[in-house]
């Protein structure tokens, strides 16, 4: 919603906008937390508390000036960074150095965010055209399994990616047929697809690979080595990322352009907001929805493929473990926009990255970080921080006259 706000206006104007205040607030709070961590490792709890407090107050100021979503986010960040900052000053420097390696954290954030990004952007296409897709989870899983199957049988990761897209498109086709032509409840259909994917992938996994699982010599999606040695931090983050991560950045930009800068995007959005209006000017509603659902299946499947033979090198039954639902959450949290969804994916990816580094400290408490995406999305749909408004016709089957 905020992104719809007027974009014009002078630079000076911009600085005084509540939106800028909220962003500044977040930056201040983040700084408060940042300085107690390596490499600075400031040891006094006063700093994070003071800066966090300023951030919180600025956040409240932004909220009272009408920027609800970012404002509340700033308030939350302020409070969290105060708490975490104090905790960090209490713990030993050795521990901190182990957990907080910024470049590694960022790189791992990107690794965790990427499958989510693929699936979330896939979901965006489907939902923008008016078809709810809670089957992202199943489509990812299908992509993960059939991608690795294709790669292993053909000896080529590229064929594997094609196989993944095919599997995702296949499931999407079922979802599209049931929810568009048969006008079945899209939630029921999506739930069914999730089970179907779980059953089918599990079945063929056992049938093809048996108890031994996928072999270890799977052709993996390659990493891209960049000669960035001169900048240590940049190198640590971007030096050796998987191809799919780079492709996801491209996907992000392309999908933003398609959705908001092209006639195709205008038509997709029209179909998702008011299908009859689209129909009366001669747009084929069914065709648009079919295309979008299938694209959504292919993108989600590519996210799954990255999981099984990009990020890792093996398939396990049910290996997506809720990532499709986090992608859905990111889509909602990002208000059905590519960059919004991507930001949410980064945030959620960061919480994953932290969760897998913190056990050093806290045992299983770190897993609570994995609940964060869902808590934030719950708060977002509750409207506390500015409501996420979906496309108006999402979930409603369209009946041609």
């Amino acid at each position: 919603m905020i992104a719809w706000a007027d974009r014009r206006g002078g630079v000076v104007d911009k600085l005084y906008r509540p939106r800028s205040i909220a962003i500044a607030a977040m930056a201040i709070s983040a700084l408060g937390f940042f300085i107690v961590l390596p490499p600075i490792t400031q040891r006094s709890p006063l700093w994070p508390v003071a800066l966090g407090l300023i951030g919180t107050l600025c956040g409240i100021a932004a909220v009272t000036r009408g920027v609800r979503r970012l404002g509340w986010l700033a308030v939350a960040l302020g409070i969290v960074s105060m708490g975490l900052g104090v905790l960090a000053t209490e713990s030993s420097v050795g521990h901190l150095n182990n957990v907080v390696v910024w470049s590694a954290l960022f790189a791992s954030m990107l690794r965790y965010a990427t499958p989510l990004t693929w699936a979330a952007i896939g979901g965006m296409f489907s939902e923008r055209s008016g078809v709810v897709n809670i089957a992202l989870e199943g489509m990812m899983l299908a992509g993960a399994f059939f991608g690795i199957l294709g790669a292993q049988k053909s000896g080529s990761w590229a064929i594997g990616l094609l196989a993944a897209m095919g599997a995702g498109a296949g499931l999407a086709l079922i979802h599209a047929f049931f929810s568009i032509n048969l006008r079945a409840d899209q939630i029921v259909s999506g739930t069914a697809i999730n089970f179907l994917a779980l059953g089918v992938t599990g079945y063929f996994f056992v049938d093809v690979y048996g108890a031994l699982g996928t072999p270890s010599d799977i052709p993996r999606i390659p990493n891209v080595d960049l000669p960035l040695d001169r900048w240590q931090f940049i190198d640590g983050v971007f030096g050796n990322l998987n191809l799919m991560i780079w492709l996801s950045f491209a996907l992000l930009i392309v999908s933003h352009i398609v959705m908001f800068k092209t006639p195709i995007g205008l038509r997709i959005r029209a179909v998702g907001e008011h299908p009859r209006a689209a129909d009366t000017v001669g747009i084929n509603v069914y065709l648009v929805r079919y295309a979008c659902v299938i694209v959504s299946g292919m993108l989600a499947a590519l996210g799954g493929a990255y999981l099984s033979f990009g990020f890792g090198g093996a398939f396990n039954e049910g290996m997506t473990a809720g990532k499709g639902f986090i992608a859905l959450a990111a889509l909602i949290f990002g208000a059905w926009r590519p960059f919004g969804a991507f930001s949410a994916c980064l945030l959620f990816g960061f919480s994953y990255a932290l969760a897998y580094r913190l056990p050093e400290y806290s045992g299983s408490a770190a897993t609570l970080f994995l609940a964060l995406p869902y808590v934030l999305t719950l708060i977002a749909v509750a409207g506390v921080i500015g409501r996420s408004i979906p496309p108006a016709a999402v979930g409603r089957p369209y009946r041609k006259q």
């Binding site: 029921v188 259909s189 069914a192 059953g199 056992v206 049938d207 959450a329 045992g363 749909v381």
Partner: protein
Amino acid sequence: MSEQVPPVEQPSPGEGPPSPAARLSSLQRAGGIVPPILTVIVAFFVGGLVVLATGHNPLTTYREIFAGTGLNWFFQVGSHEIGVPYSDATVWFPWNVNDIESVAAFNLQQTLLLWIPLVFTGLAVAFAFRCGMFNIGGLGQYIVGAMVAVWVGSSWVDMQPGLHVILAITLAALAGALWAGIAGFLKATVGAHEVITTIMLNWIAYWIGNFAFGQGGPLQNKVNESVPVSSDVAPGARLPVFWGDPLLQGLHIGFLLAIAALVVYWITLTRTTLGYEVRAVGFNPEAARYGGISVAKSYFLAMAIAGLFAGMGGALDILGWQFRLGQIDIQNLTLPFIGIAVALLGRNTAVGVALSALLFSALLNGTSTRNLDPEVFQPELAGNLTLMIQALVLLFIGADLLILGLWARAKRAGSRRPRVPTAEAPT
């Protein structure tokens, strides 16, 4: 997905898609029990094709699965004198309930053990559905219930046994109600769509569970700190077994509670003012509001009651036969999701839920590792076959909604009172 009515064109309220409950009800009347049965047959048929395609014999596979369900126990009709509990009297009964050890009896006990939570999670979906909501949060509500049950059951070991069980079940049910109530509350106050909120609540519960039983978690056992499992439920907090061997997972009295829950479900909906309100809101919230019913309250209560059922289902599993809960259990939990298929296949009626829960529990048990002969069909495959059949059932329920809809419309069109088609054709 919240109701955001664009000011320009309201998608013609009268003709627009009615609430799911209203749609379902009209279809239910149209087809009776034929469509669900057809749905199941088609699902099994397609499942059989998959079995065939991968080089196995579907007929022997299904026969073997059936043998594992224990339902063949019912074929052994005879004449038996059965003792009445807590008395010396005996009554005549066609089935030999005294038989607690035969393979069929044991298998049936296991099937019925699974039937119990399926009934409860099925009712959790069904009750919310009757109020026009789609509760796919059974998983979270079940987890929360199970967690509270294991916590209460393994604490206060000195408590009086009967009281301990009741306390554990009650608190677990309330916890489930509270958890689902969050979704109901958000729906009632800000109109947040229950599908989204319950999905989120599922995963929040999932990770809280992983935290609680994980290393250093508050509910992890104190004996062996490397195992992410809770302490055991105290003997006094365990449910008595009334059929079968208590040491071999006999059937506990949760079975009777499940039957009671089905009856309560039916009575609540048809014989109480609360049920009247819930159904009115489910069919037509605007008319309910006009009639003086608080729609928000109904949403909240219906969701809370749904959670009550699911939480209780979780508690009975813990107190009845699992006696402990661990990270692995939570991670492998799909049973509450089957509740969705149970409710939809059972058309959200008490009898329907009971029957479709039996179908799925039999399928689950028949395909379990223990029951299936690997020579005939690998049990690992069979478990996935169950998932597929379940998915197909869900898909075809969606489809038969349509088939029935067409049929109902054709029937209505042929009847004496044609509806004047307005130029505004239905959206």
